[in-house]
């Protein structure tokens, strides 16, 4: 897919690479036993190691290693049997050690790939360069006192996975799809809670522009974006800024930028003179990390069905479209709901598309309106399945099903009970329907004549009247067939 931006002199292509920082889902921190719980009182989850007390030493949390390996496997990536933790040295008030323990030359995970799916059914492969583990920093709080900055170290030392992509992304849209896909994979794997509002996923965006076919231009890095909306805004602003500079005959200066949410603009984080030299070197407090084959093999066996595999299953088994399948599988909870409907009601497998429609239209809309997550849906997969079964079994019409659906949501009752209580069972008895038709045709003789003289559009009128008379319960197909027969 080619996404070109129109400039004054030519078309431009945006080249984007992403560094995604995902917090590892783990009860304790990467190198200490302090809790990782979000939203606790400031500095209530800080061990002696996290506070960098004199003589304190990091000890690797094996669970975080498992999570990183699991994520690597989920990204179809190479797991490195040998990796090294390095120190990235810089001073900041919320970095107690004066260095961040990270992985530089030897990351735990090497090259991998992720597939993103477009609305039109096309897909694209985005290459992953590496995934490495590192410590999160604490938080500096500047807005509680006019002259003071407070430091909260609860986040200090929480494990992050930095997932670095090749510059394979070409638009804000692709970036949004890519982040969504990574988030989805991490959540299927249960290696990150995926909560962007709480900062569990943040991204640094590397961006440059070029004329199609040219070499890569000079890139700028926009740091620390934590919502897809802002990432899109930042990319759109920044690519336009770079194009304007180049079209005016200027040059792009390689720079680290921050995106201002209020102004919607990017601005340099620091000047060139202030550029950091991080002085990476292997952390002498930690031995190189060596993973045995068995360790990796055991984790491989824990890998659940991932979105791409599920998608393929939906396409192969249920003949769903690529797009429907990716909508369903984007969120594990949606896909789980869908799977449960078909698992409980195997006879619906041939009507999977109808189930999808009910989930993605009626269910989504009512859940969104009420701000309820699908995992807490008042309509269970079982009941939704029962409802769809009544439609496919010609027990009720789609229109009546919508009313039943509403009531299911409000009352938690089964659709069968609702239909029974309200007497909504569809009329399929030909004689009964014939009586209704006769009544309608009798009452509208003039229109019957019009129809017979060529006004075929009137068929809809007769159907509507007959349906009304049946209180919506007449089986539409039988009604239709009988009407045509009578009018011919």
């Amino acid at each position: 897919m080619i996404n070109l931006i129109k400039g004054k002199t030519s078309d431009w292509e945006t080249i984007i690479g992403l560094e995604i920082h995902a917090q590892v889902k783990s009860n304790s921190k990467l190198f200490s036993s302090a809790s990782t719980k979000f939203g606790s009182d400031p500095n209530s989850q800080v061990s002696l190691v996290d506070a960098a007390m004199p003589g304190m030493l990091p000890v690797i949390n094996e669970y975080c290693i498992r999570q990183a390996v699991k994520t690597g496997l989920g990204l179809h990536a190479k797991i490195n049997h040998y990796s090294v933790f390095d120190r990235k040295n810089y001073f900041y008030a919320d970095l107690p050690q004066g260095y961040q323990i990270s992985q530089y030359k030897y990351p735990i995970v090497g090259e991998g790939k992720v597939i993103i799916d477009f609305k039109d059914g096309n897909s694209k492969e985005i290459r992953i360069i590496r995934l490495h583990l590192e410590q999160d920093a604490g938080k500096s709080i500047h807005d509680q006192n006019p002259t003071k900055t407070f430091v909260d170290l609860n986040r200090s030392g929480i494990a992050l996975m930095e997932i670095v992509s090749e510059p394979d992304l070409r638009s804000a849209e692709e970036v949004a799809l890519y982040i969504g896909k990574i988030r989805s994979i991490l959540m299927y794997l249960d290696t990150c809670d995926g909560n962007m509002q709480e900062g569990s996923i943040r991204a640094d965006v590397n961006i440059s522009v070029r004329k199609p076919g040219d070499d890569y231009g000079t890139r700028c890095e926009i740091k620390n974006l934590n919502s897809i909306k802002f990432i899109k805004q930042a990319i759109e602003y920044e690519s336009r800024r770079q194009i304007n500079i180049l079209e005016d005959g200027g040059k792009i200066e390689q720079n680290t930028l921050l995106f201002n949410v209020q102004s919607g603009k990017t601005k340099p984080m620091r000047s060139k003179e202030e550029a950091h030299d991080y002085r990476y070197f292997p952390d002498p407090d930690l031995l190189p990390l060596e993973l045995e084959d068995k360790f990796i093999k055991d984790i491989k066996e824990e890998i659940p069905e991932l979105p791409d595999q599920r998608k393929k299953r939906y396409i192969d088994e249920f003949k769903l479209s690529n797009y429907d399948s990716s909508i369903l599988t984007a969120e594990k909870e949606i896909s789980d709901f869908f799977d449960l409907v078909l698992f409980t009601h195997k006879e619906l497998r041939s009507s999977a598309k109808l189930v999808v429609n009910w989930i993605t239209s009626e269910l989504f809309s009512i859940l969104n309106k009420n701000e309820i997550n699908i995992s807490k849906s008042p309509i269970s997969p079982d009941y939704l399945g029962k409802l769809v079964l009544m439609i496919t079994g010609n027990k009720i019409s789609g229109k009546i099903a919508k009313d039943v659906f509403e009531e299911m949501f409000n009352s938690n009752k089964s659709p069968n009970d609702i239909v029974k209580e309200r007497g909504l069972i569809q009329v399929t008895n030909t004689n009964e329907i014939e009586l209704i038709i006769n009544e309608i045709l009798e009452a509208n003789k003039d229109k019957v004549a019009d129809y017979k003289s060529g006004k075929k559009k009137l068929l809809g009128f007769f159907v509507g009247q007959a349906m009304k008379l049946s209180q919506g319960k007449a089986n539409p197909k039988i009604l239709n067939d009988l009407l045509l027969e009578k009018l011919s």
Binding site: M53, P54, V59, P284
Partner: protein, 472 residues
């Protein structure tokens, strides 16, 4: 009564020849009579009495024994300063693994001993709390005790305690032991936990022991060694009963004499002591093997790249934000860092932070740090090869006897040369012990150094014990 060795003192305590309170009256008095040595940064009689009143007698040999603790070990009952202004009022809320082990065995802490600031020095002259005087000095000409663990060495040599902990990064136990005429051992890297020890250079720092004789040093070594899951570089190995297992029958063993340690300009008195020790070993049935450690000459420059590099990062945490000294006058965060560290660190520490920062800088990393790591590997290989031909290695500990305070202060390189014989073993991570063996022309003690394979401390205790018994 003398009370110089642990064994003898433990015996007398057990037989009730002396009460523990009487014993500490003696040691407190000795300490008070020697305050001019400046061996302790923290000495508080009250703290000793508190420990005594909480004390209960056990059969452990270290029970009730007075031990001095280098002020690099974090202790809950006493402040921990690393001899730096930047930590001058620091009170640790935790006890280091090593000192906790000693406490568990009933040892009594006499106080926290003076040392070079963050263990950076070879003369104990960089301490914020002033220099330490070698107890063997004459009144008119004070000598250095060596460094960095100068206070611990002086305290043991002056009998202010029966043993002391030290840390050795490039010679900081063996060199002061040599200068003060006592025994000092740096065990294999990884034998003692570094947890709770203020870090200087993490890949080299190792806790060790000072004592008045080899047996006591073996006993204390047993007392502080052991695996600690909180130190990722701690080795999970069995700690033998060094003291009980000492065997001075060396017949059939081979000693390696490295030709490279016969450096140009080495004073004759050093060579004489070295030769004397070789002869003694020969008389004990030890085969003499002339060996080569070809990369020895690169050890000192290698050390002075790796150690400052690690230090520059390890000391970044002293920034005035969380604990320790913070400069009062600042107008911004960067300003606070600058002033805090400018005022809080001494000259030598700053020098090493600058060297370390430089060698890790982008564009210089490969030429310095990476190359130094490669050379370090070659030096370790030298030892590995040598130990295929010999059971242990014998060298002088230092290129000179203790020198007057003030000497070499104007030239850091001269000062660094003090560590020329001790640094290679540190880089290789192998154990080394220094024992007094002979005297200089001025009657000052000279040390001899014994090195062995990783985790083969027993061999050097055996040989050290043999030489101690045959030292005339």
């Amino acid at each position: 009564m003398e009370f110089i060795t642990i064994k003898e003192t433990a015996h007398k305590l057990k037989n009730k020849d002396i009460s523990i309170h009487e014993l500490y009256e003696i040691f407190i008095k000795r300490t008070n009579n020697n305050l001019d040595l400046n061996a302790y940064i923290y000495f508080n009689e009250e703290k000793i009495h508190q420990q005594l009143s909480a004390h209960s007698a056990t059969t452990n040999l270290l029970n009730g024994i007075p031990i001095a603790i280098k002020d690099l070990f974090c202790t809950k009952s006493m402040p921990t300063t690393a001899a730096s202004k930047i930590l001058k009022d620091f009170q640790s809320p935790y006890e280091s693994f090593v000192t906790q082990k000693l406490l568990n065995q009933g040892a009594i802490f006499m106080g926290k001993t003076n040392c070079d600031e963050f263990a950076m020095g070879s003369a104990n002259t960089t301490s914020y709390f002033g220099n330490v005087i070698n107890p063997l000095s004459s009144k008119d000409k004070p000598l250095v005790p060596g460094g960095s663990s100068g206070g611990s060495a002086a305290a043991v040599a002056a009998k202010l305690c029966l043993g002391a902990t030290g840390t050795d990064t490039g010679g900081s136990i063996r060199q002061p032991a040599s200068f003060c005429g006592i025994v000092g051992i740096k065990p294999t890297y990884g034998l003692c936990s570094r947890w709770g020890v203020v870090a200087f250079a993490s890949s080299l720092d190792q806790a060790g022991i000072f004592a008045n004789n080899v047996e006591d040093s073996a006993l204390l070594m047993e007392g502080i060694a052991g695996y600690d899951p909180n130190d990722s570089t701690s080795a999970n190995v069995n700690v033998p009963n060094y003291c009980q297992s000492i065997n001075t029958d060396l017949a059939g063993k081979t000693v390696g004499i490295p030709s490279e340690y016969n450096v140009q300009g080495i004073p004759e008195e050093i060579s004489i002591v070295w030769e004397k020790a070789i002869k003694k070993l020969e008389s004990g049935g030890v085969k003499i093997k002339r060996i080569s450690l070809p990369h020895t000459k690169y050890a000192l420059p290698t050390y002075y790249i790796i150690a400052p590099a690690e230090a520059s990062s390890n000391l970044a945490r002293y920034d005035g934000v969380k604990y320790g000294f913070r400069s009062e006058l600042f107008s911004s965060l960067d300003d606070m860092y600058e002033l805090t560290r400018r005022e809080g660190f001494g000259k030598e520490v700053k020098r090493r932070i600058l060297i370390g920062t430089y060698v890790l800088s982008s564009g210089y990393y490969d030429a310095y740090y990476l190359k130094a790591q490669k050379v370090r590997k070659l030096i370790a290989n030298d030892f590995e090869n040598a130990f295929r031909e010999c059971d242990f290695i014998l060298t002088p500990t230092t290129p000179s006897a203790a020198f007057p305070i003030g000497d070499k202060e104007d030239d850091p390189i001269k000062m660094y040369l003090n560590d020329i014989f001790t640094v290679p073993a540190s880089l290789a991570g192998i154990p080394g012990i220094s024992i007094p063996f002979g005297k200089s022309n001025n009657g000052l003690p000279l040390g001899i150094q014994l090195l062995s394979k990783h985790f083969d401390e027993q061999t050097i205790f055996n040989v050290a014990s043999f030489l101690e018994k045959n030292n005339d």
